[in-house]
Amino acid sequence: MKVSFFPLLAFLLSAVFAAEPISNAQTTDNSESEHQHTNNWAVIISTSRFWFNYRHMANSLSMYRTVKRLGIPDSQIILMLSDDIACNPRNAFQGEVFNNADRQLELYGDNIKVDYRGYEVTVENFIRLLTDRWPKEQPRSKRLLTDENSNIFIYLTGHGGDEFLKFQDAEEISSYDIADAFEQMYEKKRYNEIFFMIDTCQANTMYSKFYSPNIISCGSSALHESSYSHHSDTEIGVAVIDRFTYYTLEFLENITTTSKSTLQDLFDSYTYEKIHSNVGISTELFNRDPKDVLITDFFGNVQKTVIDEPTEDLLYVYDGDENDYSAETKLRKVDDASDLKRPNVTAKSSTKNSSFGSNVITLAWKENTDYLYSSALTVLIIVTFFFAYNKF
């Protein structure tokens, strides 16, 4: 009996000391696990054809540029452009597309990958893309290879009406079609969350039929309202961007991969004075508050990396600097480190990706505030083992 008692005691003791940090980490993880996403995708579609719809192509290309800038790789962006306006003979700036009359930013540079172009942009292909029902020969680059950990940003622009959106001047997709496609995606575990954004006339009717969970939607105009273009380029001779997209981009231009802006900030930036129509936001199907949803959850591809900040520089090589040994310096270093660390631990799930369940000692070791506990624990364990083995 005595033999087994000491190791058991040691384990129990260690469990008690370690209990607090472990349970903390666990709760944080549970509450966030539903919204955990590991990859970001974007589907960006312009549905209208013809030269006078230049702005729809510019809208889409601007969005494409933005999500790419925020880190979603081309392989995870599906860009559908229904017409090639860059090479339209009417384009005074051949091979170039601009979204502003100042023509500072060229959108159709060398680094554009259009997945579906021209007459490939059809309702059928869009639905197939969402539900991933393709014949075998469909190349992987033209598929939406999402899983249950994917956050998808879907952006549509074109000419719409009450619960429909025109494709190619020839066919249309209804709100029900998209809703059912989303439901299929949900059933097939093809997304974690969807942010559906649409810039058309009467856009808000497009998301009115959605019923699958974890979808947040945003449209440019209410029922019976038109969405307007923002301005024309008088040399190109067409309107170059729509108001809703213009102001969305204006907001997104200030976003970087590390920005803490949330969707609520984006929604708050829309005003009737700017957009000239009533922007609609639907959060009914979404169980997070837009206040808590970072812009980069959808627009970026932010892989969270937790950076350990040990009290001492583990890789430090002594170079003979006496200051390194000065008590004052050392103390300050410790203070700084703990100050920096605290908000990280409490506010965010910084521990969530670190290996929970790994060595207790390591965990305890890391917590510099638990210095005393950990040294006592070590001593205790050594003493226990000593006693246990000494007996024999």
Partner: protein, 603 residues
């Protein structure tokens, strides 16, 4: 008026008029001035030499040029047409836009500014990189037969072409000044084929963005700002006659492009100093850019409309009932002839009982008469239309008066003459059936025409409407015969030929009439009457005789020149119906009731 018309709007999204900034400005003005000096200096050179100079200029600019030879069949003068095509590098080479600058405008003036501006624009268009449709610039000697010949040749025999022509603008700007007042847009097309309203709207919108005032239907400058009932009515009437008369007058301008599915307008610059020549250049540039933006043919908007104002139009649905009512008069008269017998001397009600039945022999006879008169008239129409092609020597004056006007005038007196001379009687069923058939035919033909060419149908319906009141009589009555003669006379095609001919020749200004009616004052009337008297004193009476001759020749030539159906339609409907009604009005019928009563008594 309210609710019966609408404001014009651009229906085709692709056009986007005035969205692009036109750059035809001061620097181009210098080129236009230079070209103008050149053109003035070679004013007296022969056409071939002038063409050669232009040819060199355009070739240097990078246009592909060619000359289409044309010999005037009447005078034998050679009038080669130079045209230049810019095959745009980025377009698919299947569609084209046309700018036409005739050397001489319809009044015979040297079209200096139009020519200079066309060259300036040609040079300028070459520098723009936005063209998706080819650009063709034509320099015909004049804007009637020579241009029409080019248009026909382009679609049939020419090798050097630039695709189907989507839109055409004919420029008429004979001034040699740097400034112009406002512009007039003519949109009438042959056989009621108007250019798509979108093109007209585009040109008007572009012009208004350039702050250039636009006049349609020959609206005078002073009336451009007014928008009251009389000014619009005046404009409407002018517009109706302009379209109804399309293809007949000597100057065709944009009408030359009719029939080939080309939307064509004429832009005429009126002298003044409100705008400069580059304004006109920018109007053409912007209009071309809009047409260039098109992806399909013009198909939105309206092909049938009446413009009251540059910005107000009456759509086909609104005006058709008017034409329908005018045509319905004949149908009602026809039914009246059937049911009521069209017998002036009989009591209608008493006849109804046995009137719906027409005996078969008279019915067949009536049908044959109607068909024969229609056949003869159509043959007459086709024969007369071809007269000028068979190089037969005809004196137009003789042809008009000896062979058309006088015979018709004399025969309109037949009812009276026959009262004294011809005392044959004929079955009442025959006259009844004949009037039933021809009046119904007239109504039917007018309705058919109305859909295609409302103005012509409407004008003919109004002019021929007295035919409805020509009636036969079983009892001899001089009064009835006189009435018949009067109705036949005022519905006679020859009379209206003379009326319209004189109106056209003397350039009757409806606006002055409107002015008197609208702002009636005795002194104003006095002044106008004085003006009229002065005019009559000054004018050569020959003018009044020449007017109808010119109109008649225009009618006859219309079909061969521009496939204008007006004369053929007149001979197909109006003339045979008039002849048939003349017959009906001139003969006696057996009084059937009295005859039957006699029969009954005999039994």
């Amino acid at each position: 008026m309210e609710g019966q018309n609408r404001h014009t709007y651009i229906s085709e999204n692709a056009l986007m008029p005035s969205q692009a900034h036109p750059f035809f400005r001061e620097s181009e003005w210098n080129f236009v001035r230079g070209y103008r000096n050149e053109i003035i200096s070679m004013m007296h050179m022969p056409l071939a030499a002038k063409n050669q100079v232009f040819n060199d200029l355009l070739t240097e600019m990078g246009y592909k040029t060619e000359i289409l030879n044309y010999t005037d069949p009447e005078t034998g003068i050679e009038k080669p047409t130079l045209y230049a095509i810019y095959h745009v590098p980025k377009g698919d080479d299947t569609e084209a836009m046309v700018l036409t600058a005739p050397w001489y405008n319809p009044e015979g003036k040297f079209n200096v500014n139009a020519l200079a501006l066309s060259l300036g624009l040609a040079k300028y268009f070459r520098r723009l990189s936005i063209w998706a449709k080819n650009i063709i610039i034509i320099f015909p000697d004049n804007s009637d037969d020579v241009l029409r010949n080019w248009v026909d040749a382009y679609h049939t025999s020419l090798d050097n072409t630039g695709g189907s022509i989507e839109a055409a603008i004919v420029l008429d700007c004979p001034s040699s000044k740097d400034y112009l007042g406002h512009i007039e847009i003519e949109y009438a097309g042959v056989n009621g084929q108007l250019p798509n309203l979108d093109l007209v709207n585009t040109a008007i919108m572009v012009a208004e963005n350039e702050a250039v005032k636009v006049s349609v239907n020959g609206c005078p400058f002073g009336q451009l700002w007014t928008n009251d009932y009389y000014s619009r009515l005046c404009s409407l009437v002018n517009g109706i006659f302009e379209i109804a008369g399309a293809g007949i007058s000597e100057s065709l301008n944009a009408q030359c492009f009719s029939g080939w599915n080309i939307q064509a307008i004429t832009i005429r610059a009126i002298d003044g100093d409100r705008n400069d020549i580059t304004n006109l250049g920018r109007i053409i540039e912007s209009t071309f850019r809009s047409v260039n933006n098109l992806l399909e043919k013009f198909h939105q908007s309206f092909f049938f409309y009446l413009l009251l104002d540059p910005k107000i139009f009456v759509s086909v649905g609104m005006y058709l009932p008017a034409g329908g009512l005018a045509a319905a008069a004949f149908v009602v008269a026809s039914v009246n002839a059937w049911v009521g017998g069209n017998d002036a001397s009989a009591d209608v009600i008493s006849r109804i009982q046995h009137s719906l039945l027409i005996k078969s022999i008279p019915l067949v006879a009536a049908c044959l008469t109607a068909i024969a008169s229609i056949g003869v008239c159509v043959f007459f129409a086709l024969y007369t239309s071809g007269i000028f092609d068979q190089s037969m020597e005809f004196d137009p004056f003789d042809l008009t008066y000896k062979w058309f006007v006088l015979p018709l005038f004399i025969s309109s007196l037949t009812p009276v003459v026959s009262y004294f001379l011809l005392k044959v009687k004929i079955s009442a069923d025959y006259t009844r059936a004949l009037s039933l058939i021809v009046l119904f035919f007239m109504g039917y033909a007018l309705v058919g025409l109305m859909v295609l060419n409302f103005p012509l149908s409407f004008v003919i319906a109004i002019c021929a409407s007295p035919l409805c009141f020509v009636r036969y009589a079983s009892k001899p009555s001089l009064k009835r015969r006189l009435i018949n003669s009067v109705f036949l006379f005022i519905s006679c095609p020859a009379l209206w030929l003379i009326v319209f001919g004189i109106i056209h020749k003397t350039e009757f200004d409806l606006d002055r009439l409107r002015n008197i009616v609208q702002y009636f004052e005795f002194s104003l009337l006095q002044k106008e009457v004085q003006n009229l008297l002065d005019y009559l004193e000054d004018v050569d009476p020959q003018v009044f005789l020449d007017g109808p001759v010119e109109l008649f020749i225009g009618l006859l030539k219309g079909y061969n020149r521009v496939q204008c159906w007006t004369w053929i339609f007149v001979c197909f409907s109006w003339l045979p119906v008039w002849i048939s009604m003349n017959l009906i009005g001139s003969i006696y019928v057996y009084d059937e009731i009295s005859d039957k009563e006699v029969e009954k008594k005999n039994q």
